[in-house]
């Protein structure tokens, strides 16, 4: 029986988010909070491994109370248990402080049932770093396996896994000891529509909620803003290049004008003859 913990985060949908141009902060009300799309793949992979080998999938998240909704989404995908750690002391955490808090939570979950495998998403769409997964692995002192795009085998009795790690031009096959941590690529699986029983269970599901005091021995100076070595000194809107020339006239005229401009660059183009 494998116990797999997937780390998930609720994020604002940055695709439709609006920024306040005066303060350069997000207008949170403009963007719905969603399960980080990359984390859906982490949960889906955990569920598939559970189906393959038998076991339990827990999800854990650090976030504000509404993050319960993201946990429910994971239950829809097939997670068995959900844990939300929420506390003002966590606010303002960078990746180092986030990995510390999540490690404490995973250790606590491990007391309930020992954890074999931790799965993270490739990255979050708001933090957008991919640093939290390896950070958790280092703190738990288990091997971090990033860019995983296929799980070949998880062998619990002999204590090893074999996975593919995506490279820029292919992949490598890695054998690692178990327990370990995966950060998974989006392409590792497709998240299907959730089966109805999961939806029904999710609608009523209440996750376990912990505050800092519930996490056992913990160094508060390593949490939240205080525990974050990085600070955001300045934010500004990305420079928008000012538009250039709009070509005028009929399609034919516009193209002719463009060709004149490109003549100067003609050394660049190698035109292929029509094959007749």
């Amino acid at each position: 029986m494998l116990h797999i913990v997937a780390c998930i985060k609720q994020v604002p949908d940055t695709k439709i988010i609006k920024m306040n141009p005066k303060t350069n902060t997000m207008d949170r009300s403009s963007a719905p909070a969603i399960l980080n799309p990359y984390d859906a793949h982490a949960v889906e992979e955990a569920v598939r491994l559970k189906q393959r080998y038998g076991g339990v999938v827990s999800v854990v998240t650090m976030g504000p109370p509404p993050a319960v909704k993201a946990i429910r989404k994971c239950v829809e995908i097939g997670a068995d248990e959900g844990y939300l750690i929420t506390d003002r002391a966590f606010a303002g955490a960078d990746t180092l402080a986030t990995s510390y808090a999540l490690t404490k939570a995973i250790e606590k979950i491990s007391e309930i049932k020992p954890v074999d495998l931790v799965i993270c998403g490739k990255m979050t769409i708001d933090g957008d770093t991919g640093q939290v997964g390896p950070g958790i692995a280092r703190r738990l002192d288990i091997p971090p396996l990033t860019n995983v795009n296929k799980v070949v085998e998880v062998n619990q009795s002999e204590g090893y896994v074999i996975v593919h790690r995506k490279l820029e031009d292919g992949y490598e096959v890695i054998r690692s000891t178990l327990p370990c941590l995966f950060s998974v690529e989006k392409e590792i699986n497709e998240v299907p529509y959730s089966p109805l029983p999961n939806m029904l269970r999710a609608a009523r599901y209440q996750p376990v909620i912990w505050a800092v005091n519930d996490l056992g021995e913990i160094d508060r100076t390593l949490l939240g803003l205080k525990g974050s070595p990085t600070i955001v000194a300045k934010v500004w809107p990305p420079e928008k290049p000012k538009g250039g020339e709009r070509l005028e006239g009929t399609a034919q005229e516009q193209v002719s004008r463009l060709m004149e401009i490109l003549q100067e660059k003609q050394g660049l183009f190698r035109v292929k003859e029509e094959q007749v």
């Binding site: 997000m26 960078d94 957008d128 091997p143 990305p238 020339e245 399609a251």
Partner: protein, 343 residues
Amino acid sequence: MNLEEYSGIWVFLEVKDGQIAPVSLELLGAGRQMADKRGVPLAGLLIGEGVASLAEMVFPYGADEVYLYDEEIFRDYRTESYMRAVLECVEKHKPEIILYGATSTGKDLASAVATDLQTGLTADTTMLDVNAETGLLEASRPAFGGNIMATILCKKHRPQMATVRPKVMKALPPDPNRTGQIIRETIELREEDIRTKVLEIVRETKEKVRLDEADVIVAGGKGLGSREGFELIHRFAEKIGATVGASRDAVEAGWIDHQHQVGQTGVTVTPKVYFAIGISGAIQHIVGMQNAGLIIAINKDPEAPIFQSSHYGIVGDAFEIVPILMEAFQKMPDKEVQYGGKI
């Protein structure tokens, strides 16, 4: 932590296909400027097996020193073994800044190292600067899906670390007269101590798309309407010897493979000419191509934001404009010479 003890700027030298990765040379260029501003040495950190000969090669690109770990245990990149080398070297020589390429290897290594050093790490940096007096690294990056830029500082911890996107910094033109010092390091590390093994490395036979090295890119977006519509992009690109790029929405629609994606979650490109066809010009796309020499947009919506980011714009239907363009190229004078030249 006594910040004063930390001095010097390092670049992690990534080895790819037996060569120093281009991004590492770019970082030496950026690192050189910062080291001069600070009046400190610039060092490369080179880890691998049989890589000693590569160490010499980075001096012309600006490095003053190279710390070299050349041992069998480093034949393949593995987080745990490489991390041990970086950690030991940092402990011994105490740099104030370490830069890594934001590649899968660079990001993996930096994330692990930062956790052990309990220091700050800025991801996917696109702008770098350093304060000459305090040595404070100013690492700026797009945040919230590219909606804002943010400058990140790490005031109380050293070394300060950042991963930096390929293709945004510039390598120096190599100066063959520059030399430097190679510092050989050794490490006590046994194979049994490393919990991961690389069983096999598989290079995909599929020809790799070198978007980042292309001189001319023809990129298509959702505006092409369908997989069949996207064929127009392939035909145009093939005709003019360009590489095909795409927006994320075209990739997500399944019309083209992810490796063609330009933008924040795709490749950053710097071609001499970039055609954006049926692409709306979302900021996440723009950040990946805005440094192209000449950007030409073709879009049927005159209000499309892509026109704000291009040098020349044609308002019109791609299916009307592109065939006319292809014809015009066909008629381009002295094309014979060039075409012949290619063969």
